[in-house]
Assembly symmetry: C2
Homo-oligomer: 148 residues x 2
DNA sequence: CCTTTACCTCAAGTTTACTTGAGGTTTTAG
DNA sequence: CTAAAACCTCAAGTAAACTTGAGGTAAAGG
């Protein structure tokens, strides 16, 4: 049983069948068809779906994921090296994100310590505001890559 | 100048005026009105907006944020203790999230190490799949709080 | 005073990521 | 062989988080 039906992939990946259809239209996964026009997925599809779900945890959009997947072959199972370079790429991204969250956590710690009643020395609030200078405000740790 | 106009809050927080209107309809921020029916915000509004943006980084929805804000007074500036208990709550959440991302990062590291050609020992893929047992699949680290 | 900039409200539009449903075909289990 | 379960396509609906636009009022600078 080399190939899997859409229902099998769905149940083993914990997603709905409709989600897999959707991912296929987005070019995130690929299938061939059997005699009766039903989808048949290679086993690597499950890893793709796992990676999609993992990446979404990091706040990565499907478009970006698709872009990252673009280096992988669509219809043949990716090689070891190909998976590895993808995984490495995600991990770099993931570690950046962890760092940012850590920084945010530190800011909150400062916030808890400072009391923040005065708003003058709150590290969260004052990360950019500098006590009300003209210009852009306390745009804090977000907005690294054009989120708005 | 104790109170701020919507435009001032917007530019100092790095968000659009329409976003502040939107947040107000959602009950995330509050304003009084001047003689000409224009909004006037207390300075604590900026901290609220900072916290909203920070929380969004953690994947917290506006509804949840609103719920967390519910403990704060709407029209009077929150006290030190009130801010602190909020910040502490966020930080617990934040640290949980960091832990999860760390776990994901570890899985990816395993993935990079194992090569994953066989799919038999990939820690990312096999976190729940157990080599194809019947039942639910490699539902990995997500889905902690009914995300789908 | 007058014009430009900032505000106001309310309705409708946008994007992302899916889900639901209708109407019909294929597989599979008994 | 037949009935239920699984698939198929395509269109439309949903939810979150905003944004845009129209039509009109207020405030601020010269």
């Amino acid at each position: 049983m080399a190939e899997l039906s859409v229902g099998q992939v769905a149940s083993r990946c914990g997603v709905k069948v409709s989600t897999l259809h959707f991912y296929e239209t987005k070019g995130l996964i690929f299938s061939s068809r059997n005699a009766g026009n039903q989808r048949r997925f290679g086993r690597d599809t499950m890893r793709r779906v796992s990676l999609i779900k993992a990446a979404q945890q990091l706040g990565v959009s499907l478009d970006e994921i698709q872009h990252a997947f673009a280096s992988l072959p669509s219809y043949t199972a990716p090689t070891q090296a190909q998976w590895q370079s993808m995984a490495t790429g995600w991990q770099i991204r993931l570690n950046e994100r962890i760092k940012r969250l850590q920084a945010l956590s530190d800011s909150l710690t400062g916030c808890i310590g400072c009391g923040c009643l005065s708003m003058k020395n709150c590290p969260l609030y004052n990360s950019q505001d500098k006590l009300g200078k003209v210009g852009s405000g306390p745009v804090l740790l977000q907005r690294k890559a054009g989120q708005q």
